[in-house]
């Protein structure tokens, strides 16, 4: 993909669909489909079609300003600053201990670092609920390492979270856990049911695929145990999802993997966004995007749901609102990582980079520090005229930190540009 895709009147992206086409405004995020006849009439500058296009907000006049400036004007008018007023959800990094060793894991595991303690957990949760007094919801996701190795802390934290929710008038607490699914025991299943958990099991698909990147510390695969545990969770009525991590080896057969996951009775699939832990995207952006697009439709065709970064594009197109700040949640808050020793990382996926990690006491005194999670929008020269600029916004703070480079990874650019064109061809309104 390049930024030289067809532009109508030097402004609008024109995506051919046979003799028909879809026109897209990268600034307003509006789009419209054109029949073959309408395409021809536009090429002929026929006055009636120009008037119809104008009614829809597409004008043939030259751009009033460079695309980048127009996008910035729009987000300023919309009041989008990228500065969250509060933390509304935690990824609680309860331990770095893990019973597996997966080649692509972005977390440093089994370092010997201390697990979070009960007083630290209490302090973190109190800070979260105080900030969210009167709010509709806060989210808590247990993370590690393998969080179920410290199920005792999960139980304690969940009970305390509900107590704090009542005290501070928070409407609901959404509990989730990201687990490898190996250590699930009956008391956990009962607890997950009681607290209406969403249990996200990370695995890579069928046993032959799973054993490529994911093993127990002993070096053995654990597929049978994981699949048995998934079945136990589903049979007990627990909401189970699957977190799939795209790799160069599995991306081409992602739809097959999705078929396999669906065959296990799992109806929620989340395809992780590549994390450039070694300084770059290891997955081909265009191939990933096409695989995710097809997988999404496949999941929908079976009554299931598949989430990925493509959703940001659909949301932007369907609501006409920019989706440039991925760190801002639907409720306007920030999802942060609660760490041991009374610390919080304002990037929920990065606690290696000290510049994003603060003591809770400091965040209480200087809440403006949360703004540090906001990325620099459209930082690169090629961002300026990118058709996907308002749905991508440029690399996240985490990407910039991991890549040590403020410019976007070319594979990420491909993902969003191809994703934009694919999403424009799909207005099924199914997800």
């Amino acid at each position: 993909m390049t930024n030289d895709a067809d532009r109508l009147w030097n402004k609008y992206l024109l995506v051919a669909q046979g003799a028909e086409g879809i026109v897209f405004d990268p600034v307003s995020l509006g789009s419209a489909s054109l029949t073959a006849d309408e395409m021809k009439r536009i090429r002929d500058n026929e006055p009636q079609i120009l008037a119809e296009m104008k009614q829809l907000g597409f004008t043939s006049e030259p751009p009033a300003a460079p695309q980048r400036d127009l996008i910035f004007d729009r987000i300023n008018k919309l009041g989008m600053t990228g500065k969250p007023p509060r933390i509304s959800g935690y990824r609680i990094v309860v331990t770095d201990r893990c019973n597996m060793t997966c080649t692509y894991c972005f977390v440093d595991t089994n370092t010997g670092a201390d697990d979070i303690t009960i007083p630290e957990l209490r302090e973190g949760l109190e800070y979260l609920f105080e900030q969210n007094a009167g709010q509709e919801e806060v989210t808590i996701q247990w993370f590690g390492g393998e969080p179920t190795t410290r199920f005792d802390l999960m139980q304690y934290g969940d009970e305390y979270a509900l107590e704090l929710a009542e005290k501070h008038g928070v409407g609901r607490v959404q509990f989730t856990v990201v687990t490898n699914g190996v250590l699930i025991k009956d008391p956990m299943i009962e607890h997950f049911k009681k607290f209406k958990y969403g249990v996200g099991v990370s695995f890579d698909g069928a046993p032959d695929d799973n054993k490529v990147e994911r093993f127990l510390l002993s070096g053995k695969p654990a597929d049978q145990r994981i699949h048995r545990n998934i079945q136990r969770l589903i049979d007990a009525g627990v909401h189970v999802g699957c977190n799939l991590t795209p790799t160069p080896l599995n991306v081409s057969n992602l739809p097959d993997t999705v078929e396999y996951v669906l065959s296990l009775g799992i109806n929620f699939i989340y395809v992780n966004t590549p994390i450039p832990i070694s300084g770059r995207w290891h997955v081909d952006g265009e191939a990933l995007c096409r695989a995710v697009f097809r997988s999404r439709l496949l999941a929908l065709s079976r009554g299931a749901m598949l989430f990925s970064s493509l959703d940001r594009i659909y949301q932007a197109l369907d609501t006409r609102l920019p989706k440039m700040y991925e760190h801002i949640q639907q409720d306007g808050g920030l999802n942060a990582a609660l760490l041991s020793r009374g610390r919080i990382s304002i990037l929920d996926l990065n606690w290696r980079d000290d510049s994003f990690v603060f003591p809770i006491s400091r965040l209480r005194e200087q809440p403006e520090l949360l703004a540090g999670a906001a990325k620099n929008l459209l930082p690169a020269k090629e961002c300026a005229e990118c058709p996907a600029a308002a749905v991508c916004g440029g690399p996240s703070r985490n990407d910039v930190s991991l890549r040590n480079n403020p410019e976007p990874d070319p594979q990420m650019c491909d993902f969003f540009q191809v994703g934009l064109e694919l999403a424009l061809t799909d207005q099924t309104g199914l997800q």
């Binding site: 669909q17 046979g18 119809e52 829809l56 969403g198 909401h239 959703d311 999802n335 309104g429």
Partner: protein
């Protein structure tokens, strides 16, 4: 007239994409909530319109081209209703033709005459 993309910002009308908070699990429990809301919305809609039940209706999702097709037995006349929606008129026509042919194939295999 060119056809603008529909605006979808209401989960009760369209099950829209999750937000950037769409990490694993966030929506798991919400599915029950929105299904309950869908039922209450449909109940209210039914109070405002004349309607007939359409039993055994199904929706197919096409992967290529992307689109949705609703197929349902006509509740008051012989035949099967096929409604398709793709992003462009060509895609919509393609979907309608393809799925109509499937219905016709079934009719033929079952030796059921297609009524004019």
């Amino acid at each position: 007239m060119p056809k603008p993309r529909e605006q979808k910002d209401n989960h009760l009308i369209y099950a829209d994409a999750v937000g950037s908070r769409g990490k694993s699990g966030v929506w798991f429990g919400e599915r029950e909530d929105f299904k309950a809301k869908q039922v209450s919305v449909m109940d209210a809609v039914k109070e405002r319109i004349e309607w007939v039940p359409v039993e055994d209706a199904v929706m197919a999702i096409s992967l290529d081209p992307p689109g949705i097709v609703l197929m349902a037995p006509n509740p008051s006349l012989p035949g099967i209703i096929v409604l398709a929606d793709g992003a462009t008129s060509e895609n919509t026509e393609h979907l309608k033709k393809h799925y109509t042919e499937i219905v016709q194939g079934v009719l033929k295999d079952a030796n059921i005459a297609q009524e004019d």
